[in-house]
Symmetry: C2
Subunit: 463 residues, 2 copies
């Protein structure tokens, strides 16, 4: 008999009530008395579990009653409505087949475990309510993002993970090598000879797919990337991981305004998709992880995002400098405390801050006419701060070369990138969405380690 999923049962109740069926899943809790017992089973397909009632008419009644939490079972029985109970139905078991028992040292007994402890058993924590919810929602968000872009005919581009360049100079990089570390080939001057390395030169893990992405936007008009990126930064915070996923759309024949419209539409789309497709999980987060989450997200999905220039934002923030650890003044980078103050206290909704001073932004951003600021935008959201950073790109060959020189970059390293300004250059813009920040934002989870299946952070690369 084909196993029926608990999701299917909940979503298509009428089809299954009063029929005999089979389910397979894992014991969440078990309570046995002399002649009968209750088993709560979760089969991983649905957030809500299923109650199984079994009786001593079964041959293996005693054996089943001794099952530990975590055991895998297959249950055959009749699904009956339970109008007076909390759950809508239960299975009255005819047979309980033990697929795999669980030993009594199973770490996930029926009690509340701290997130810290659960991080030490990353291979088992998806079996708990919280992490079932987190990782199903993570999966749905990823799909919502693909769906959003594909419905708009964006081309998904796999930009490379191993790179010979340091892209935007965006931070510390991980080296990738096959050299024998205990016997490194050397040049005459004693330095390492990377010509003997796998790629014949020094290589690292990517920090951004943007520059490669731009080359495809100049061919396909609208593209997006969705892949892992890396930072070898020694920062042990709740918001930084060494390995994380990024989404980087890039749109041609488009400017900063188009870029912001795209970002706002995308965020709203994701919120609506997840609320619609994971109502049980979202209700759980709202109740146990972040009270007010659903109200906040609903409001974001239905309101227009704010807009403010960096210069205006500084003027506003300067009036509240007494509230900040770092005092703001024109020219400084915004810290999370400033970002959150703007979006939570001033605007009370997501807000785009635009036109940042050129000196705190990357070389590729389009210079504004004031020659002091660039066409950059950060999208700030309540509870998180910056969730998206983007810009219109400098599409003028000469201006770009000049900016690279000012910033000490070697133009020869960027030949391919400059070619885009030589052969049919056009206005274009894009942004980066940190995927994990997005998952945190939608679930209310406050530590990035708890939204990545197997997180990689300084000194931590387990499993």
């Amino acid at each position: 008999m084909e196993l029926v999923s608990i999701r299917d049962m909940y979503r298509n109740k009428e089809k299954y009530i009063d029929t005999t069926l089979e389910i397979g899943g894992w014991v969440r809790s078990i309570r046995a008395s002399k002649n009968f017992g209750f088993i709560v089973v979760n089969d991983g397909t649905f957030f809500e579990p299923l109650q199984v009632v079994y009786h001593d008419e079964m041959d293996n009644f005693a054996e089943v009653s001794k099952l530990n939490v975590g055991a895998a079972i297959i249950v055959k029985g009749k699904l009956v409505a339970t109008p007076d109970a909390k759950q809508p139905f239960e299975i009255q078991a005819e047979e309980v087949y033990i697929e795999g028992p669980s030993s009594s040292d199973y770490p996930l007994q029926k009690k509340r475990h701290s997130f810290e402890y659960l991080r030490t058993i990353a291979h088992l924590r998806p079996r708990t309510n919280t992490f079932q919810a987190v990782f199903r929602v993570r999966s749905l968000i990823a799909y919502a993002i693909h769906k959003f872009f594909q419905e708009r005919d964006f081309v998904y581009v796999h930009t490379p993970i191993i790179t010979g360049s340091d892209a935007e100079g965006a931070g510390e990089m991980f080296r990738v090598t096959t050299l024998d570390m205990d016997n490194l080939p050397k040049n005459e001057d004693g330095t390492v000879n990377y010509e003997e390395d796998f790629f014949n030169k020094e290589t690292s893990l990517t920090v951004s797919g943007q520059l490669n992405g731009e080359t495809y936007a100049m061919a396909f008009k609208n593209i997006y990337t969705f892949g892992p990126t890396f930072r070898a930064e020694n920062s042990n915070t709740t918001r930084h991981a060494a390995e994380f996923w990024m989404i980087e759309p890039e749109i041609a024949f488009a400017d900063l305004k188009d870029d912001m419209i795209l970002a706002e539409s995308m965020i709203k789309y994701i919120i609506r998709y997840v609320m619609e497709n994971a109502p049980e999980e979202m209700a759980f987060f709202n109740q146990f992880v972040d009270k007010g989450l659903i109200e906040r997200l609903t409001s974001v999905a239905n309101s227009d995002f704010g807009h403010v220039t960096y210069t205006e934002a500084i003027e506003i923030l300067e009036k509240h400098n007494d509230k900040f650890d770092y005092k703001v003044s024109w020219g400084c980078d915004l810290q999370t405390e400033h970002e959150r103050y703007l979006t939570e206290q001033i605007f009370k909704c997501p807000v785009f801050v635009t036109d940042y001073p050129k000196d705190i932004k990357a070389f590729y951003m389009k210079m504004n006419e004031d020659n002091k600021t660039v066409a950059a935008m950060d999208c700030l959201v309540p509870g998180i701060g910056e969730i998206i950073g983007g810009s219109q790109r400098e599409d003028d060959y000469d201006k770009l070369v000049k900016r690279m020189e000012e910033m000490g970059l070697n133009a020869e390293d960027y030949d391919f990138y400059l070619d885009l300004r030589k052969y049919g250059s056009t206005r274009h813009a894009g942004f980066g969405l940190g995927f994990e920040r997005c998952v945190m934002y939608l679930t209310g989870m406050s530590n990035i380690r708890d939204v990545i299946p197997f997180p990689r952070t300084v000194n931590n690369c387990e499993l």
Copy 2:
């Protein structure tokens, strides 16, 4: 005025014929005479280009006539039907605005370039017909795969890229490190001290997400991964890259038969999705890259896949040993020549080969009752050979430990993996689909370098 995409124009002709509109795109070719001219424009949204007719009534007629191939332009004009021409319509331009010119050294002049040459300009090749088609189809295949699994409520899991284990021992790995190569920290015995490395130990790039994926299948029942994997193998072939993407579904309460049903459904789904959503691109491949492609794919989508055990396959192949460079006999691994002979000559359709000798397969595969073979399956397709490799996993704790010992693996390194057999073990199975092989299969392209935007192979890590 909002730009209309050429895709939209082709797909919703009625809406646009006889209206005045604006398009933005790049010049594919230009032909000017004294009073008028023709420009073929591609805007990257659609495989077919659009013809623009312009006249000397325009102020910048002379300037436009001097445009080089590759220039970016915006055209305003009326879309008119051209019932007597090859193309269904053309734009009669009122204005042609030059967004960005192209210099005369533009490498993609209107002539046929070899794939070898185009590989040297990876940032420009997506602007050619062939690579527009390849990379749009690549994007569609990726989406079809997500869609297939999400429609079936599989959870998408991001398994880690940086890993501290060597997973299935599947091959040479790339080291990931932040140690100062010119000044490596050493232990007292002179070996490198990896405790000073970023993760406090030796780390590499993943070769497979399977073992991590299994932990999630034992929580969510049905999961899939879709991410980059790496092999530091010094093999310079048309089918191997150092960096490629893999899809690895894993299903619990399921055996090898379920696994094959899943694989077959997935392949058929992908084919149908691409044929439906990229008919122009597929027609192009069929005509210029691989004659017979569409017929072959249509037949695969509509026929049942074959099934043969390894033992039977060897019996069949042995009769044709005169045709092979490597002669087969029971116990040997199948080479591409054998795989292709089976699927192309014997079965004339995709075929699953099952139950391979344990000695040529990985430690985690479920032992069959004969104690000689394991519950493995490879899916072979015409033109490629193996496209999918999968197996039912050993779910018995003691058998798994025994097998690991036989193969010289250290059980302690696999504690988390063994836990899955201790706490609610159940039948489960999965497979790996090499994404690039799948793209090659669907496009008829014969070199893996031509289906990856920026390929990484031995001695090659450009852009």
